[in-house]
């Protein structure tokens, strides 16, 4: 396998090229982006970034996105933990069907479901709040969280539970004090996936917000105006949306690298 050591760098390089192009564009002026082809920005400029940082609607929508993604991640992990425990430890009426049914909720084609979502969240008064987007995103994050956590939990021997109960631990105390630390890595990875899918989703987020809770990805579409597209600002905003995700994966990378040793996932 002599050639294989070059495969990973090669792939990483290829996959980085479009991202390089995005970063590169964010430092160019619009004239340079549209005018001619250049490998590097000929006169690097920070104008695109300063446009974003001086306009409060950008930073506000950035915060909005982070708010609903955080709510969604916390909520998904919290409800998924006990459920995943139940699926990994017990058999109960309808367990297998329920497990598969959870995943079927990811299958709804977005276009038509947007209107019912809009009606539902308008009628309960959550429209244009981070909660609406966070709850709507649980549609695909909660099933995923249950599936991933179940894999991790199934990797932990059941003897641990039994010993703890014999030692007189209550379920709640056992779960928080003993079991959670054991599946810490699974929680980290699950949180990353919830974060990721919620962060990049646009259709639902756009439909369920108008002004107050507008997410960053929607604010970006403002760069399309009558005068054409403001590619530079769009690229700069794109670069900024990469940062929170990169930070999160920085936190969980060790879990991904080591922690899975426990689980089947």
């Amino acid at each position: 396998m002599k050639g294989s050591r070059f495969l990973a760098p090669l792939y990483l390089f290829a996959s980085f090229v479009p991202i390089y192009w995005l970063v590169c564009m964010s430092f160019k002026t619009n004239e340079e982006i549209l005018g001619k082809f250049t490998f590097f920005p000929t006169s690097p400029t920070l104008d695109n970034y300063s446009t974003i940082f001086t306009d409060s609607s950008w930073s506000q929508s950035y915060l909005n996105s982070i708010t609903y993604v955080t709510i969604n991640t916390v909520l998904s992990v919290l409800v998924a933990l006990p459920a995943a425990y139940a699926f990994s430890r017990y058999r109960f009426l309808g367990d297998k069907h329920l497990f598969f049914w959870l995943l079927t909720n990811r299958m709804s084609p977005p276009a038509v479901f947007l209107l019912p979502f809009f009606q539902l969240y308008s009628s309960i008064g959550l429209f244009d709040t981070p909660w609406a987007v966070a709850l709507a995103h649980t549609l695909f994050t909660v099933p995923l969280a249950v599936w991933i956590l179940e894999g991790f939990m199934s990797g932990i021997p059941r003897e641990i539970d039994e010993t703890a109960y014999l030692d007189g631990y209550s379920f709640a105390r056992f779960f928080v004090r003993i079991f959670l630390p054991l599946v810490r890595s699974g929680v980290g990875v699950t949180a990353f996936f919830c974060f990721m899918f919620s962060w990049v989703e646009l259709l639902l987020a756009r439909t369920l917000t108008s002004v107050d809770a507008k997410p960053i990805a929607v604010t970006m579409t403002r760069t399309v105006s009558a005068a054409g597209m403001d590619w530079g600002v769009l690229a700069a905003a794109g670069v900024l949306t990469l940062i929170p995700g990169a930070i999160v994966i920085g936190f969980v990378r060790n879990y991904i690298a080591k922690g899975f040793a426990l689980g089947r996932v």
Partner: protein, 289 residues
């Protein structure tokens, strides 16, 4: 695996069922409601039974979109699975290089979907984009806005670039679960690299690969934002996949009834395929243990 039977486990599952029922079942029921009615106005609704379903099932444009969709999903599964698993096998396992490559691999996953489309829109342009310029310099007359095949290939490459990391991350994580003792035993037996992969690593990966296949299948089958931003479904209909055709009916023409009937059929198709994948991979996984 003999898990104890305990119906009280339902208490632990209830929060999940409640939240998913709220965010999924209520909208689904609304769509079912639309699909059997002709909605003329807020107070004018006519029950039309299965008319919309019949109309939708005989729509030739829909058949075209469905065919394109199936070819697309199969193509990206056929590329992303081997590529993702292969990548997971060759990624560094220890030290700073493993951390760095994990972050680099994941970057495309973290870009909002409309930005993904925008990146490729510029990147592929023959006059100002790096990818387009490079291809033209190689002597290929590449133009994704005019040539249907080029547009289709661009969407496939974009999707491979965007989503292979997901398969790679899951597979990488799954590979970490293979105990070192297995590799040592294989070494003593003089097993070839292929044999190690086929009989040790692949069976251990079956769990993660089930999830990877299901996720990739569902998400590619409902792909919308990226091709919409990149090509708007064109040139012609060449990159109009099911979701986008659905959006033209629902949002463009505002035909809610047919659109709802369509999305229920759509949903059932995905459900059917996913169930087949799930059962097939699960039974294979059980046999491999």
């Amino acid at each position: 695996m003999d898990k104890p039977i305990n119906h009280r486990a339902w208490f632990l599952v209830t929060p999940v069922v409640a939240i998913v029922a709220f965010s999924a079942v209520i909208p689904l029921m609304t769509v079912v409601n639309y699909s059997v009615q002709d909605i003329l106005g807020p107070d004018q609704r006519i029950f039309v039974g299965t008319d919309w379903f019949q109309k939708v099932l005989h729509d030739p444009e829909l058949h075209g979109a469905l065919l394109r969709q199936i070819v697309f999903s199969l193509a990206i599964l056929a590329i992303q699975l081997p590529l993702g698993v292969g990548l997971a096998l060759v990624l560094p396992r220890e030290g700073w290089r493993s951390s760095l490559s994990l972050v680099l691999v994941s970057l495309p996953l973290l870009i909002p979907w409309n930005v993904v489309g925008t990146i490729w829109q510029v990147f592929g342009r023959g006059d100002i984009g790096l990818g387009g310029v490079a291809l033209n310099a190689l002597g290929i007359d590449y133009n994704y806005t005019a040539n249907a095949l080029h547009a289709w290939l661009t969407v496939v490459v974009m999707d491979v670039w965007h989503w292979t990391p997901l398969v790679a991350l899951l597979a990488y994580a799954g590979l970490r679960a293979v105990p070192d003792a297995f590799y040592q035993a294989a070494k003593i037996d003089g097993a070839s690299r292929w044999a190690i992969f086929r009989y040790i690593e692949l069976p251990k990966l079956s769990g993660v690969l089930t999830i990877a296949v299901l996720l990739r299948f569902m998400d590619s089958f409902t792909i919308y934002t990226e091709p919409f931003v990149l090509t708007g479904g064109g040139p012609g209909n060449s990159t109009t996949f099911l979701s986008q055709y659905l959006a033209t009916i629902a949002v463009g023409r505002f035909d809610l009834g047919p659109a709802a009937a369509f999305s229920l059929v759509y949903f059932l198709v995905i459900l059917l395929f996913s169930y087949i994948f799930y059962t097939a991979m699960n039974s294979k996984g059980e046999a491999g243990k």
